[in-house]
């Protein structure tokens, strides 16, 4: 016996959930949550992706190795993003020594902004 045959009912339930979550994420954009809007949207996206991976892509019934492959890819992407952003967001941590303040050298424009723009 090769792959697992999934009952159609499960597919339709997952489909319904995905549509509902899409509607939810769209609706949430119209609600003012400030900084939380992004986080909520990403959490919903992760839920949707998990549903697709587990059920449509059969991860729930696949050998553990496939899950390891997917999780490794996600981990590696996290490494790329996190170490890269560590650079950019610690660039303005370096303090300017006291004696320089009186010189003509001025510290760069507001932190993190390469151009002084809105």
């Amino acid at each position: 016996m090769q792959g697992h045959v999934v009952p159609k009912g499960i597919y339709f339930v997952i489909f319904g959930s995905l549509m509902a979550l899409t509607a939810l994420t769209t609706a949430m954009a119209y609600v003012n949550l400030g900084q939380w809007n992004t986080i909520v949207a990403l959490i919903i996206a992760c839920c949707k992706a998990t549903l697709v991976a587990l059920f449509f892509m059969h991860l729930r019934w696949s050998p553990r190795l496939m899950r390891v492959v997917l999780l490794s890819a996600i981990l590696w992407l996290a490494i790329l993003i996190s170490l890269t952003t560590t650079d950019f967001f610690s660039r303005d941590w370096t303090p300017i020594p006291e004696s320089w303040e009186s010189s003509l050298l001025r510290p760069p424009t507001p932190p993190g902004n390469l151009l002084n723009q809105r």
């Binding site: 490794s72 790329l80 650079d87 950019f88 610690s90 660039r91 941590w93 370096t94």
Partner: protein, 540 residues
Amino acid sequence: MATGASDLEGRVHYLNADYGIKSWLLTTDHKRIAILYMASITFFFLVGGIAAVLIRIHLIEPNGAIFEPGTYDKLFSMHGIIMVFFFMIPSIPAVLGNFLVPMMIGARDLAFPKLNLLSWYVFMVGGALCMYAVIWGGVDTGWTFYTPLSTTYVNTNVLSAAFGVFIAGFSSILTGLNFVVTIHKMRAPGMTWFRMPLFLWAMYATSLIQILGTPVVAITLVLVAVERLFHVGIFDPAVGGDPVLFQHLFWFYSHPAVYIMILPSMGVVSELIACFARKRIFGYSFVAFSSVAIAVVSFLVWGHHMFVSGQSIYAGIIFSALSFLVAIPSAIKVFNWTATLYKGSISYQAPMLYALGFIGLFTMGGLTGLFLATLATDTHLHDTYFVVGHFHYIMVGGAVMGYLGAIHFWWPKITGRLYPDGWARLAAAIIFIGFNLTFFPQYMVGYLGMPRRYAIYPPEFQVLNVMSSAGASILAVGYAIPLVYLIWSMRYGPAAGPNPWGAKGLEWETPSPPPTENFEHTPVVTEEAYAYGAKEVSVG
């Protein structure tokens, strides 16, 4: 161990199973594909080598002996691009890996033979594009394609070179994918993970890097091309982009890429040391795990190429610490190989000379890497010839010697012929001498401050440069000699028999050259790897 030439006649094996150019160009036999790759990468090595020869001749004079600075820039760029992407990265994986992975695990072929052939064609298309770039005037950005030089300020063949590399990257990904699936799913009965030869662990680790890293450089080169073509500026400061982002994305792949270049050679060295010391590798599991550890940690250190690029010093500290960490598994391997040699029954055939050369030269190259991983010293050494010396010690003194050792070790299996070992040892010695004479002066001249990628240099560095160029000419002779006797051996060499070295491993339990299906029956493995001194295992 040589038997008569009649050993080869009358028997059907993978080389004579089918004739004609179509049988080679449409083959799905992993062994034939390995030979296709071997021919291709030899060609690219010659192209990259010619560029190197021209560079070394030019640098005999402080004001440059032959070329304009613009042309010189193109020479070192093409040398780097061709050597890195079209020789070093494919070398052992695509030639020895393709040939040996199925045989070492007792399989009939790789998991996806047609993908394997596709990967060769993709490689050739990428190579053709880069050759077009070479012929049509070259690229002068360095193999690193830094922005904004490559996107905005040069009018050389960046697009075709970048596109060629992009395409060749898919070849690398497909090979890695094939190896991982094959090693996971197609091991012979009894071949547990910890009975696999260490070469397979090395190929597995290399494949992990190929799979996870190459796509990032692929998308990065696409971004460079898009910015160049459409002025869609991800890296363009004029719209708020940051050129250093390119360096992050580029080096995220290109640092692990250097481990793609060295890990397979390390796997080879494990095989050679075990065979020619007639001893099981000391600390087998340490060596196996260190391969995977190198593959993983290699992805955490890329920022050490960017210490003086404007990267934040805090990121620099993190990357520096992690770079020290990545040296540890490599050191573990060197200690284990040395411990294997202790009280071993050592013989000095050509492959062993290459393996011993590897250990010494790789150690030197690795130690100089520590100077470069240290923030303070790197500030002075970055972009000097010290760096050039460092990576050539590892890539040429290490990886290329590993490749040559592998070719010499498995040549009898691949061709069914023996080559003259006397000439092989002479060539190895010439290569060793020529190599050190070429690259040791580069450490010195770099430490003294000579910048890399400069067409001219201050006159006080001339003596060391001339030494380096003299060494290069000796090295060239050393590389030419094996070409001669190996090709000679294909026709006139004595028949090798299945196991001329008396080595352990499934690939040695099948005739030389092997039949197309590799084994008469699927082998069953009952003993550990490198069971030197133990009873012979019976093949299925």
